[in-house]
């Protein structure tokens, strides 16, 4: 992702406890991993079992929404940029879940009316409508009776947010977003404004412009990294057949993600970072950013500038030297991971170190493989 768009995304999501954005294939395996990833934010919080179940349920419902409409394949209609979209964000204990997919224009009025109607109803009326629709077994032409929407509204207890972006004479990109609050019935309407649906649309448009397959902002613990790696590994094997190249990508991913885990600035023991993976013309673009303490940032700049001036052959011998000599800096890192990343990239990686405040800087690195 280029630095300008990265900054735009960063400014939208930097205060999130978790932000997971995904565009593309919604195979079962992928959706399970997305739920896993979202789930880690609840680990160790036994008192939030209900919230956890609700979030997982609503995520699955959103996936269903995208999958149900997947007969309009964005690739087949020549609109690959309108791949299915999924988002989950945790902002101060409130969970926002959104999805987006192509629909035919002819279904827009009906869908809009259903959502407007649902938003007018009280919890009691919603239950009544749910039972009525369930009993009637009324299936709309698109295979959905609106039950999913009613369920979403009932579980969230909030109004559904939607957005329709007309693409051409036949197709529209439809967004739906729900909010689940930390405490039921304890939400101020103003809180909804901290993540209006237009933010989600903007995020998807930024991702689309950069061919991003997925982006993650959150805690870089091993149990977050593993589902990420697993999910991406499956995706890259579908995209590119050359297994050795895929292994190289995997390798760069591991080093970039674990770099954040091992060396990120973590005053509260939370290794915060952002990571994104984009694919275009069978080239992979991996971007990672995290905080580093200001005293380390000088050292980081020094070794990166030094590594980046060397040829691949020179880097290889430096790599061996470090491997053998084991010169470790105070942070336990010897720069091996960084050399690996530079050696694997097809063009010189771009990096930035931006001072955020008195104690930390933001380190951004962008690699193409």
């Amino acid at each position: 992702m280029n630095w300008n768009d990265f900054q735009s995304i960063y400014s939208l999501i930097k205060d999130d406890q978790l932000c997971l954005l995904y565009r593309g294939d919604f195979a079962d395996e992928v959706t399970v991993r997305l739920i896993d990833l979202s789930d880690i934010q609840f680990s160790g919080a036994a008192d939030r079992v209900n919230m956890r179940k609700k979030v997982a349920f609503l995520m699955a419902e959103c996936f269903q929404n995208v999958i149900r409409h997947s007969e309009i394949s964005p690739f087949e209609v020549g609109l690959p940029e309108y791949a299915g979209f999924f988002m989950t964000r945790n902002i101060d204990g409130e969970y926002y879940i959104a999805s987006g997919n192509l629909i035919e224009n002819q279904y827009v009025p009906d869908l809009r009316a259903k959502i407007e109607n649902i938003n007018k109803l009280s919890p009691g009326e919603l239950k009544e409508l749910y039972m009525k629709v369930l009993g009637k077994d009324e299936i709309s032409a698109k295979g959905g009776a609106g039950l999913g929407l009613i369920e979403m509204a009932r579980k969230s207890g909030r109004k559904l947010e939607s957005d329709f972006r007309k693409i051409n004479e036949t197709l529209t990109f439809f967004y739906i977003q729900i909010l689940i609050g930390g405490m039921e019935g304890d939400l101020q309407e103003s809180r909804v404004k901290s993540c209006p649906i237009c933010n989600s649309v903007e995020l998807n448009e930024l991702l689309t412009r950069n061919d991003v397959l997925m982006a993650y902002h959150g805690d870089f613990r091993q149990d977050a990294i593993l589902p990420l790696l697993n999910m991406i590994n499956r995706n890259i094997n579908n995209i590119r057949a050359e297994s050795y190249l895929n292994k190289t990508i995997f390798h760069v991913l591991v080093e970039m993600l674990q770099n954040i885990m091992h060396h990120g600035y973590a005053p509260n023991d939370k290794k915060e970072g952002i990571f994104s993976l984009a694919v275009s013309d069978k080239k992979f673009n991996i971007c990672a950013a995290n905080y580093v303490s200001n005293d380390k940032s000088l050292y980081l700049r020094e070794i990166l500038d030094s590594f980046l001036t060397h040829s691949n052959g020179e880097l290889k011998s430096m790599y061996k030297q470090i491997l053998k000599g084991g010169t470790q800096n105070s942070d336990g890192g010897a720069g091996l991971g960084l050399i690996d990343i530079i050696r694997a990239s097809s063009k010189t990686p771009e990096y930035r170190l931006v001072r955020i405040d008195d104690s930390k800087s933001l380190f951004y690195i962008n690699v193409v493989i």
Partner: protein, 131 residues
């Protein structure tokens, strides 16, 4: 002469991020396989280093260390070098140590990793490629 204690065998069952490690003096097996991207490499490998230190006090007449790694990260690479350096001393005295590096034929990353190790470690390497 007091008999040196035999180190207890280690058999670490592999996980999504940790390799399978078998260190068994009685059966003469020293083997590392699978994926190694541990969260805390120090915690994973400290017992292994302790075992190796113990083993080197009374090694078997022949020691062959087998690697069949799918993938490992740079901190694991550091550990492998540190461990193999310990065996260099034994081999200098006795010529009894060898490395078997097994990897898939098309796995250029692991083949190259093996070659890198061979270039910096003074031990005989045998490469076995499989399909």
């Amino acid at each position: 002469m007091t008999k040196l204690p035999v180190p207890h065998p280690i058999h670490l069952i592999p996980s999504e991020d940790e390799p399978e490690i078998i260190l068994d003096k009685a059966k003469n097996i020293l083997k590392f396989s699978g994926t190694s991207i541990p969260e805390d490499p120090e915690k994973l490998f400290r017992p292994v280093m302790n075992w190796v230190n113990q083993y080197l006090k009374s090694p078997n007449p022949k020691t062959s260390i087998e690697f069949m790694m799918e993938y490992y990260n740079s901190s694991t690479a550091r550990f492998f070098v540190e461990m193999l350096e310990k065996f260099e001393e034994l081999n200098d005295r006795t010529g009894s140590v060898s490395i078997i590096w097994k990897c898939r034929k098309d796995d250029v990353v692991m083949v190259e990793r093996g070659e890198d190790l061979k270039a910096i470690i003074n031990l005989p390497f045998k490469f076995i490629e499989y399909t």
